[in-house]
């Protein structure tokens, strides 16, 4: 009876966690806590997602009619450029690694923080500075080169603020490099006792592979963009043939970064996927080793496929033959993952909660995105569909259908851990379904448009393409609703959501063993790992924790 009287007394004292131990602005802006930095990133990328999303909505509105009914071509070109630049570098690349990765990597490894907390803070500041440059360029008149900055259009012919945006992307690139470096060292040196490499959650494997790409590929982007700026400012002939440069050199350098960047954008999605599928089917992943090593294989092979963006750019036939083959090979580890996730469901105990709906949606959309990617890697077929809406549809299936779906799934999954509150389950399911339907209605018609031959980056188009464009725009409006809903109910859950407790989904993983939200130093005592991850058959035998009443 003595303990029974003791516990209510203890509850009256505020339990300190990383959110409530200090409320000052200074404590947020000067924080070295990986969890707070994750939240800073979450707020900033949401801000940029909204800007990029508004640009996308204006693009879709313009494309309802075959004429320039809403915006002039000049404005349209700036809109799709900003949409691309912001979504790629200020939303997709930092999304899962910088938000969920920052929050979870130390927790999953049983560490108190990342290896270099100050560098982690510096990464966020670089991100913000890069973002300011890009936003100023946007307000000042924008840039019209497309996010790919192809030369000599960008280095000589464009009259817009190319240098300013290039500087913004250059700076944000270093934010990516620092984050990647931090995670690599953290994974190598901060694992808790007993956490061997093959006891790491698959999320850690995925983020680790991503970090390696970030550190190796991003410097190439920085150099390439610096060269564009040098040619533009000082007229040094690097890419412009009129100055003695080679325009294809730019494409080689740009895609040498930007193709691995596609894997920077999708590997973290795969990492989250493995966590969601296992938790909501209560099973260890089918083929843990195969999923882990396919991440590594994708990271390595991803560096060897860049010229598949250039099959019609004027490269030699032999280059085309080699890069097509390598691009086909990189599809194999992706296929392995899809089959393994699906097989994980077999004989599981499947619960279709909100994060699981996103996870299952991801498998479907990623499968379609991947298979159309194989079509694009096929030489004879790529000649026809290259630079058409087929490509647009394909990479949105990977980046939005893949990455954004899993980011949303992961955000919902770890929301109770991050905030200590549950979101509204009914609204969660509704928005997941809305996003899935809206997404398919937006992007599936674009496959047909592309095969019909509609080129990308056209504000005005022949009338026979209108039907599919209207369908796509209608889908985009549904998709927009799907993205606004979580913004509302997740924020409301901070005040009205019911308290989550340590482990609301009865998931395995170290992050679920500490309180929600976690204390400032993550664990009161450093955990010790004694068995493989995802041991649902062992951990579920223990009785569920008492859910706090609220």
């Amino acid at each position: 009876m003595t303990t029974a009287t003791f516990i209510p007394a203890a509850r009256r004292v505020k339990e300190l966690n990383f959110l409530n131990h200090d409320y000052s602005i200074h404590s947020w802006l000067m924080t070295k806590d990986h969890k707070r930095i994750a939240i800073l990133y979450m707020v900033s990328i949401t801000f940029f997602f909204i800007i990029g999303g508004v640009a996308a909505m204006l693009i879709r509105l313009e494309l309802i009619s075959p004429t320039n009914w809403l915006v002039a071509s000049e404005t349209y070109n700036k809109l799709f450029t900003m949409h691309g630049v912001i979504m790629v570098w200020f939303f997709l690349i930092p999304s899962i690694p910088a938000v969920l990765g920052n929050f979870l990597m130390p927790l999953m490894l049983g560490a108190r923080d990342v290896a270099f907390p100050k560098l982690n803070m510096a990464s966020w500041y670089l991100y913000v500075i890069g973002g300011v440059f890009t936003l100023v360029a946007l307000l000042w008149g924008g840039v019209d080169t497309g996010w790919t900055f192809y030369t000599p259009l960008s280095s000589t012919f464009s009259n817009t603020h190319v240098v300013m945006v290039v500087v913004g992307v250059f700076i944000v690139g270093f934010s990516t490099i620092f984050t990647g470096l931090n995670f690599i060292v953290t994974t190598h040196s901060m694992r808790c006792p007993g956490m061997t490499w093959f006891r790491m959650p698959l999320f850690v494997w995925g983020i680790y592979a991503t970090s390696v790409i970030q550190v190796l590929a991003t410097p190439v982007l920085a150099m390439t963009l610096a060269l564009v700026a040098i040619e533009r400012i000082w007229r040094v002939g690097i890419f412009d043939p009129a100055l003695g440069g080679d325009p294809l050199l730019f494409q080689h350098l740009f895609w040498f970064y930007s193709h691995p960047a596609v894997y920077i954008m999708i590997l973290p999605g795969m990492a989250v996927e493995s966590e969601l599928i296992t938790c909501f089917s209560r099973k260890e992943p089918f083929g843990y080793i195969f999923i882990a090593f396919s991440s590594v294989a994708i990271a390595i092979l991803g560096f060897l496929v860049w010229a598949h963006h250039m099959f019609v750019a004027g490269i030699s036939v032999y280059s085309g033959l080699v890069f097509s083959m390598l691009s086909m090979i990189v599809a194999v580890p992706s296929a392995i993952k899809v089959f393994n996730w699906t097989a994980t469901l077999y004989k599981g105990s499947i619960s279709l909660q909100t994060p699981m709906l996103y996870a299952l949606g991801f498998i479907g959309l990623f499968t379609m995105g991947g298979l159309t990617g194989v079509m694009l890697a096929t030489l004879g077929l790529d000649v026809h569909v290259h630079d058409t809406y087929f490509v647009i549809a394909h990479f949105h299936y990977i980046m939005v259908g893949g990455m954004v779906m899993t980011y949303m799934g992961g955000l919902h999954f770890w929301w109770p851990k991050i905030t200590g509150r549950m979101y509204n389950e009914w609204w969660g399911k509704m928005s997941a379904l809305t996003i899935f339907l809206g997404f398919n209605l937006t992007f599936f018609p674009q496959f047909i448009l592309g095969y019909l031959g509609m080129p990308r980056r056209y504000p005005a188009y022949p009338p026979e393409f209108q039907f599919y464009n209207v369908l796509s725009s209608a889908g985009a409006s549904i998709l927009a609703v799907g993205y606004i809903l979580p913004l509302v109910y997740l924020l409301l859950s901070l005040r009205y959501g019911k308290k989550a407790g340590k482990n609301p989904y009865r998931a395995t993983g170290l992050e679920w063993t500490t309180t929600s939200p976690p204390p400032e130093h993550n664990f009161h005592s450093i955990p010790v790992i004694t068995h493989e991850p995802y041991a649902y058959h062992l951990e579920l035998r223990e009785p569920p924790e008492e859910q706090p009443s609220d």
Binding site: P66, S73, E74, N77, D144, G146, F157, P241, S281, K283, F286, Y288, F290, V312, A313, G314, V317, L321, S324, M328, I329, A331, F339, T342, L345, K347, G348, S349, I350, S351, L360, G364, T367, M368, L371, T372, V374, M375, T378, L379, G380, L381, D382, V383, H384, H386, Y451, L452, G453, P455, R456, R457, Y458, Y461, P462, E464, Y536, H537, R541, P544
Partner: protein
């Protein structure tokens, strides 16, 4: 759903081949998508969580399955690879006895010159059933010559020649797009390809009025720019050069194609012929894209037809030196081509075709 297209019309020899490959890959993709969807839906129903404390059985890894779903997709992809690769190689190997047409792209228009010297803007008239080899050049940024009905697309790189070819199989009018983003007017850089019967094409060329073939114009340039003073004496002779193998000073052996000749004129020091001093000045910036092409056509006309690397290419004979030019200067502004005419007309009778524009 009439009026809403699903597949573009098939207007070239490539089109049915590309469509067949697409159909194959679409079938494979549909099969796997259906397989995955079915498994997910079935598992979600069959293995739904029935009680909060349910503990599913532990499943060991199954190496047989893992190997199966590694090998099967890989083998399927090998089929796709070789199928696609052979098609790509065909697309890069021009058909014989073809017609050579010069295309210059600039922001934001297409300028086209036929072998007889007839010029047109944003429209390309070609005969049906004859291979057409396009020699593409860009005056400013990268553009892309894309005709969906022909399933063919090629970037134009400023400062160099690239080629693409096709053989139309259907008389009609087809859309031409610039597929590589090229700045503000990108979406206005569109036009049409008018495919005529060979007879109508001849009539169309004849009806375009007298024109000077590019090789003839090139012959005059050859004199004007003083090329004749060296070539044949202190410099390598140009007769029989086109299509031949050239030994360079740095040990490379190259084939003298259009790109080689272009570089020899605009950047001579980059490829010095073995045994000759590097004394040729660069003509970069002195010759327009059109003049450069005319000079190269003249040099090509000095080669017996059987030696060209692309088989027999119909070469109109060069006009005698000093023949008066009757070709009016082409307007540099695009004609008022309606931005997007109603729709493609693959079956329109040839009698409806318009004449040339210049």
């Amino acid at each position: 759903m009439s009026g809403i297209p699903f597949v573009p019309s098939e207007g070239s020899t490539f089109a049915p081949k590309v469509d067949a490959l697409f159909l194959f890959e679409l079938t494979v993709a549909a099969f796997f998508t259906f397989l995955i969807f079915t498994c997910i839906v079935y598992f979600c129903i069959r293995y739904r969580r029935r009680s909060e404390d349910e503990i599913p059985p532990k499943m060991p890894s199954h190496y047989g399955l893992e190997i199966t779903w590694t090998i099967v997709p890989f083998l399927l992809m090998l089929v796709m690879y070789f199928w696609g690769a052979s098609l790509y190689v065909d697309m890069k190997r021009p058909g014989e006895n073809g017609l050579e047409i010069h295309v210059i792209a600039k922001q934001w228009m297409w300028k086209i010159e036929h072998p007889e010297g007839v010029r047109e803007i944003n429209e390309l008239h070609v005969p049906v059933g004859i291979p057409v080899r396009l020699i593409l050049a860009s005056q400013d940024v990268i553009h892309d010559f894309f005709v969906p009905a022909f399933r063919m697309k090629q970037d134009l790189i400023p400062g160099s020649y690239v080629t693409e070819w096709f053989q139309a199989t259907q008389v009609g009018t087809f859309r031409l797009f610039c597929a590589q983003y090229c700045g503000m007017g990108h979406s206005t850089m569109v036009g049409k390809v008018v495919v005529l019967s060979p007879h109508d094409y001849q009539a169309w060329v004849a009806g375009a009025g007298p024109a000077e073939p590019p090789a003839a114009a090139g012959k005059k340039l050859f004199t004007t720019y003083g090329c004749v003073q060296c070539h044949g004496q202190r410099a390598p002779t140009l007769a029989g050069l086109y299509g031949s193998k050239v030994a360079l000073q740095d040990g490379r052996m190259v084939i003298a194609d259009e790109q080689y000749l272009r570089m020899a004129i605009t950047d001579p020091s980059s490829q010095i012929v073995a045994g000759y001093p590097a004394i040729m000045p660069s003509f970069k910036g002195q010759l327009s894209e059109e003049q450069l092409y005319e000079l190269i056509q003249f040099i090509k006309s000095l080669t017996p037809v059987r030696n060209t690397p692309y088989g027999n290419i119909s070469q109109p004979p060069a006009a005698p030196l000093g023949a008066p030019s009757t070709q009016p200067a082409p307007g540099d502004q695009p004609q008022a081509v309606p931005n997007f005419p109603p729709a493609e007309r693959p079956d329109s009778p040839p009698s409806q075709q318009q004449g040339p524009q210049s």
